[in-house]
């Protein structure tokens, strides 16, 4: 399977968001911030202590903690989505 956790991507890697797991407030907040299926996301850099991680999506920079990035499933951008 080419689906991975966002937290597993390394600096400079890209992914397409497939879904956000988790529930309630957390999930809705992420979706509001643009973490919706089909969005391309780039790993900009890790903080000096490796956590949190800076991402670029929809043309802006945002950082997530590792535990939060674990809840986002991404796929390889080259792959054609199944829908």
């Amino acid at each position: 399977m080419a689906s991975r956790k966002l937290s597993d991507l390394r600096t400079g890697e890209r992914g397409i968001i497939e879904r956000v797991t988790g529930t309630g407030r957390f999930r809705q907040r992420l979706m509001e911030m643009g973490f919706v299926p089909g969005t391309e996301i780039l790993v900009e850099k890790f903080a000096p202590l490796q956590d949190p991680i800076e991402y670029v999506l929809k043309g802006y920079h945002v950082s997530l903690r590792h535990v939060e990035a674990e809840k986002i499933v991404v796929r390889d951008p080259a792959q054609i989505g199944e829908g």
């Binding site: 809705q28 907040r29 919706v36 903080a47 202590l49 802006y60 945002v62 950082s63």
Partner: protein, 693 residues
């Protein structure tokens, strides 16, 4: 004169909303708090073509869900006061995400104007928006602005007036299309809300229907309170189940997804990115400032510089003010006849309020630095770098600044918690902040440790500071696990591009926060100082004598007098509570006066041990008096008590102000007193058992 037009300014954080507000209103603005909360509320007036325009700046939000205080405030303001026009400030270089809030404003059915801000930055990044076409598509006028250079302000005002008077040809009411499946359910809910509840308005009921599908707590509560709740909630359950069945996804996620779908659709033909993936100056700066190796040293340097500016540079104006307050007291002393009123004015009002006014330079310099950090975008990076460390303490990355400021003074430190967005983080930081030993406590340590520990005094004092930090970590952990369980908000921190701040903007930002301190703190401090003055003045002492011959005898009388004042009696009354810690009534009185300001403990000892009020912590006679009264063990316990117990009156006032709650203020005072007692007890009794006494 035409009717006054009321407008509200909405927008994402970092969209340049405040700059637009400043451009619209100029200096004519007043800052306060939204009722009952410490979210800043700014209001201003302007006029255009004979129209008076009242402008309210809503808190910056990414959305209008009911998850954060800011969102609830922004939303309720729009719903309840129905402004004539809502101006949504949109960052043109971050269009897609900024339009998310816009979709929710459209759902609310208010008259809108979009200020497409920072078009200069967007253009330099190769982002081109056909805003005329976008205006027609969305049915809302877009006005290009560059807030930092005050461009487009007239155009914005002109459009606001046109929209308010329904003369804008572009304006029309549109619906966000949530797709066939959702729309069907929204329509059912809307119908039931209109017919069965007390919300018959067409737009508002549709909005409520959408919000219910988003599991919005506020709207759920509103429906629950009124009639027709059974019908609505039954349908809501059916709708959610139906949506989940056919779409395989929760309704609230679908709503968010469809909003972005709408945005993508609108931008498809109107937005172009002519260049891609170029490294911008901002990213290059960031490569250095958050660098793996350099990030921390640079951050520590900035904090050090801020600390130095606040407390070292701030010392000069502080000294001037202090001298001025002294002169004022002297002046009043000379022009007024001796008596109770003079005593009240000099020792109650002037020295009490003067004791707070001296904080002003520190507070303004600190807020200037913080405003600079925020306006440049560095604050977000500081949080990014520090989050891992602070998170282990149960805090947010941004909590670092208030915590480090606490070493200088807890008052500005607690006020600096305003940088934290979540109320949970703010209260947690406020609760543990007083454990960071402020500079006012140092004279007490110097006196006691200097008297009792001789050459080891330095190490002893250092250990007290360490205990403070360790307690802050420990209490943070305890509070996180008990009082604030399960309330953790996602981190999701935007890292905006670095920007060159404007001096005017930064000064306004600083003034907004500092002026609240001036206005509100004075009152609490004033009342508190008068109270303490009264307690330590009644019953009255025998008449003062200026004859140096009787000075010695007078000093002895003064001790007797101190013992007999209400404060002295209070000290004796609480004596039994503090006796298990090895403290006698003098220590009790000193601790009571230390409630006003911790350094007063030293001068109180001066009075109580007959060495005169003006003996400082370095005074040898005072030290020997301490040596004869305390064992090192009691002295150590006393210092720990001073470290932990109730922060000074100014800090209590700041806590009251920033939490907006007497409950949390009382809790802060109560827990610190209890903790101080327990620790001093363990030290004293434990020490006795170990044979250290």
């Amino acid at each position: 004169m035409a009717k006054e037009i009321r407008i509200a300014i909405a927008g994402n954080p970092n969209s340049g909303k405040t700059t637009i507000f400043n451009n619209l209103t100029g200096a004519r603005q007043k800052v306060g708090n939204w009722p009952g909360v410490t979210v800043e509320k700014k209001e201003g007036m302007t006029s255009y073509n004979g129209h008076a325009i009242r402008v309210v700046d809503l808190p910056g939000t990414y959305s209008l869900t009911a998850y954060s205080l800011e969102e609830i405030i922004a939303r309720n303001y729009i719903i309840e006061t129905q402004p004539d026009v809502v101006v949504d400030v949109i960052d043109a270089s971050n269009l897609e995400r900024n339009l998310y809030l816009a979709t929710q404003l459209i759902d609310l059915g208010v008259k809108l104007v979009f200020a497409l801000n920072m078009v200069d930055i967007a253009r330099s990044r190769g982002l081109v928006t056909d805003h005329a076409k976008l205006s027609v598509l969305m049915g809302i006028p877009f006005v290009s602005t560059v807030g930092t250079r005050n461009l487009g302000t007239r155009d914005l005002l002109e459009t606001i007036v046109r929209v308010a008077e329904d003369r804008e040809s572009v304006s029309r009411h549109i619906h966000i299309d949530y797709g066939l499946e959702l729309e069907e359910e929204i329509e059912k809910l809307q119908g039931l809300i209109r017919t069965h509840t007390s919300f018959p308005d067409k737009h508002h009921s549709r909005w409520m229907g959408i919000k219910l599908l988003e599991n919005d707590e506020e709207v759920t509560k509103q429906i629950e309170k009124g009639p027709g709740k059974r019908e609505v909630f039954d349908q809501l359950e059916k709708s959610k189940a139906h949506i989940h069945n056919i779409m395989g996804e929760e309704s609230e996620a679908l709503v968010a997804d469809r909003r972005y779908g709408f945005i993508r659709g609108a931008l498809k033909e109107t937005f172009q990115q002519t260049r891609r993936d170029r490294r911008y100056l901002s990213d290059q700066v960031d490569m250095v400032l958050t660098n793996r190796l350099l990030g921390f040293p640079i951050f520590i340097f900035f904090i050090w510089a801020m600390f130095q500016l606040t407390f070292t540079l701030g010392q000069y104006p502080t000294d001037w003010i202090d001298a001025g307050v002294g002169l004022l007291g002297q002046f009043v002393g000379e022009v007024m006849g001796a008596g109770l009123l003079r005593d009240l004015i000099i020792n109650g009002v002037i020295s009490g309020v003067g004791g707070v006014v001296v904080f002003l330079p520190n507070i303004f310099i600190l807020f200037f630095c913080i405003a600079l950090f925020e306006d440049t975008g560095y604050m977000a990076r500081a949080a990014f770098i520090m989050d891992k460390v602070m998170h282990t303490l149960g805090l947010h990355g941004k909590s670092f600044i208030p915590m480090i400021m606490g070493f200088g003074c807890n008052v500005p430190a607690i006020m600096a918690t305003r940088v934290l967005e979540s109320r949970r983080d703010r209260i947690l930081t406020i609760l543990i902040n007083p454990l960071i030993s402020c500079s006012a406590r140092l004279p007490v340590y110097v006196l006691i440790a200097g008297a009792l520990f001789g050459a080891r005094a330095g190490n002893v004092i250092f250990s007290i500071y360490l205990i403070g930090v360790a307690l802050a970590i420990l209490m943070g952990q305890i509070f996180k696990r008990t009082l604030f369980r399960g309330e953790i908000a996602p981190f999701v921190l935007e890292l905006p591009p670095y920007r060159m701040p404007t001096l005017k903007g930064t000064i306004i930002h600083m003034w907004d926060r500092g002026s609240i301190f001036i206005k509100r703190m004075g009152t609490v401090i004033l009342v508190g100082s008068i109270l303490i003055w009264a307690l330590s003045s009644f019953p009255m002492a025998p008449n003062h004598s200026s004859d140096p011959g009787v000075e010695k005898q007078y000093a002895a009388q003064r001790e007797e007098f101190q013992e007999n004042t209400l404060l002295g009696r209070l000290g004796k009354a609480i004596g039994p509570v503090l006796r298990p810690l090895g403290f006698d009534w003098r220590e009790s009185v000193a601790l009571l006066t230390g409630f006003v300001a911790k350094e007063i403990v030293v001068s109180t000892f001066g009075v109580l041990y007959h060495v005169g009020e003006n003996s400082g912590e370095e005074s040898e006679s005072l030290r020997s008096a301490i040596r004869s009264a305390m064992t090192p063990l009691i002295g150590y316990g006393f210092m720990v008590f001073v470290l932990v117990y109730t922060p000074c009156l100014a800090t209590v006032a700041a806590i009251r102000r920033e939490t907006g709650s007497w409950g949390w203020t009382g809790f802060s005072v109560g827990y610190s007193l209890t903790l101080a007692w327990i620790l001093a007890f363990i030290i004293y009794r434990g020490g006795l058992i170990l044979g250290l006494g």
